[in-house]
Symmetry: C2
Subunit: 352 residues, 2 copies
Amino acid sequence: MTHQSLIFTNDVADAIGSLRESMGNPSAWVLMDENVAGLVKPRIEGPALEGVRSIVVPSGDSHKNLTTLSSIWDALQKEGATRHSLLINLGGGVITDMGGFAGATFKRGMRFINVPTTLLSAVDAAVGGKTGINFNGFKNEIGAFREASAVVISTCFFDTLPREEVLSGYAEMLKHGLLSGREQYDGLMAFNPSAENADDLLPLLKESVEVKRRIVMEDPHEKGLRKALNLGHTVGHAFESLALERCRPIAHGYAVAWGCVVELVLSHMQMGFPADELRRFSSYVLEHYGAYYIGCADYPALLEYMRHDKKNDSEAINFTLLRDVGSVEVNCVCDEEKIKIAFDLYRDLMHI
Amino acid sequence: MTHQSLIFTNDVADAIGSLRESMGNPSAWVLMDENVAGLVKPRIEGPALEGVRSIVVPSGDSHKNLTTLSSIWDALQKEGATRHSLLINLGGGVITDMGGFAGATFKRGMRFINVPTTLLSAVDAAVGGKTGINFNGFKNEIGAFREASAVVISTCFFDTLPREEVLSGYAEMLKHGLLSGREQYDGLMAFNPSAENADDLLPLLKESVEVKRRIVMEDPHEKGLRKALNLGHTVGHAFESLALERCRPIAHGYAVAWGCVVELVLSHMQMGFPADELRRFSSYVLEHYGAYYIGCADYPALLEYMRHDKKNDSEAINFTLLRDVGSVEVNCVCDEEKIKIAFDLYRDLMHI
């Protein structure tokens, strides 16, 4: 875990080249989806990728499954990869998750590096060692904990992303800011991700990834502290599930932003999180993300989704809450009446 | 790794019951093949296994594949297993390898214990954390390193095994004796596994498993010392492959016993391994295992198999050799002329 290099650069080809060299120039494969193969890969072509073969898989979360995984293993095997070879996962979270799992299991583990091409995967998926695939429609049901040997993080790909994608990733950065402390948080609140400029974003992104890395290093297998990273996710996942049921899916990061608002309301009610910070945060979210509409009639379904979150040990609903910005408490149980009141207050704050 | 319990007992049901209790009585599943379900499982029925559900898969190495693995994941998912549940792998190496991999990857890792029912899996497969399945006909191509939470080792199942199975497992014990030192080795040479009595075997087995555990603890991911456990396997695997090509497969342990003879010849030639020990070992093998027939015409094929062993980093053929009983040298390269001479001497020693 501690040996992982995090490289922040806008010369990705050069970074990959140096990494390969430091590993003794192993045979290498780059895994990507069809979109990345067309749009992104050409940007990093050059001597550093000479002799590197490509494995291209279909795009999208619906292909993050055993069939695609099996095709990756198959390609590695047929083309003679060994446990000393290198797999380069170039893409968003689907690719870093699935490629990480392929690398963790091919010949019981080959080396892999992650090169996230979306803000969300840079800030969230590429670091932390959670790898896996969906199975029978359940997300990340099969997988392993395994860190990439290195993660190369660059903002140079982000201009290929739609604005919604950038905002989605930025929500995880907001979450990291809330967990980390006032300084980082204030920096994020002062930034407008929609008018984003890659050069200005890089230092914020670097701070943000470091938050995750620190937490994961202390608790790689999510026995305690790592649950801090679930801030906003208990409610966020329920919003995502409800949206999916309504056949109008929402982006993960948006759900997290709205989930954070509800969970900060709970933090205020249960842990004394300051009311002015709650208002400041919810205004920021409303301004940049808009509001996710819920009515009283949705509360039972939302509670039901939360009870079945795989992070729960039992029927009780578990939250990560804050006493203040940077002061975190994991494993907080809130009763259903309180959660309903928090939904009411969320609707007030969101002008619903 | 250090937290793994190794339990030697002939009251397996009681041991499983205590383990479950120490884990807080999690929901549990027992994985086994059809043979074990019919012959072995009834022996451990009782209160300790109450409420434990069964997952039964087809028998044999040909079913150690993605289809069977997927059916295990499927059963766990459909029956509501969580990452806190327990999987009990009851069987030979196929079951402990495949069940270990299922456990290592279901929800990114649930707890599992191994209860080996064959001597070979007790002494070799159940301890050491190598899990996996075959893929596209390549053995153990996909897998992970992951130790069982506990291994319950008993000789009480072995009377269900054919004599050939017991001898096959005993060959790995001989290998451990060669690696460990004179005392353990002499004990093994003085024992007749064919006239085997389960009670007499248990102390020898315990010593033998401890050898593997010590080596694995020092080098879990096979970066150096663990390669010691490959003694006899470079040649043994080539014998197995040749036998398979001839459509007359041989038991793994037999191949290891014969492979050890060739590799002790190499040890004698290259490292000064004592000639009288070589003769003593080869006589023991000839008496209990007979000889595997090879002629000069087979040498090129055997060399070719050895060059393609997945443990090789390059084209050179790698061996673990001994200076003496208990004095081990890993990463020894032997040239092909020397290997051919060793095959000649093997044929002399085996009266071929």
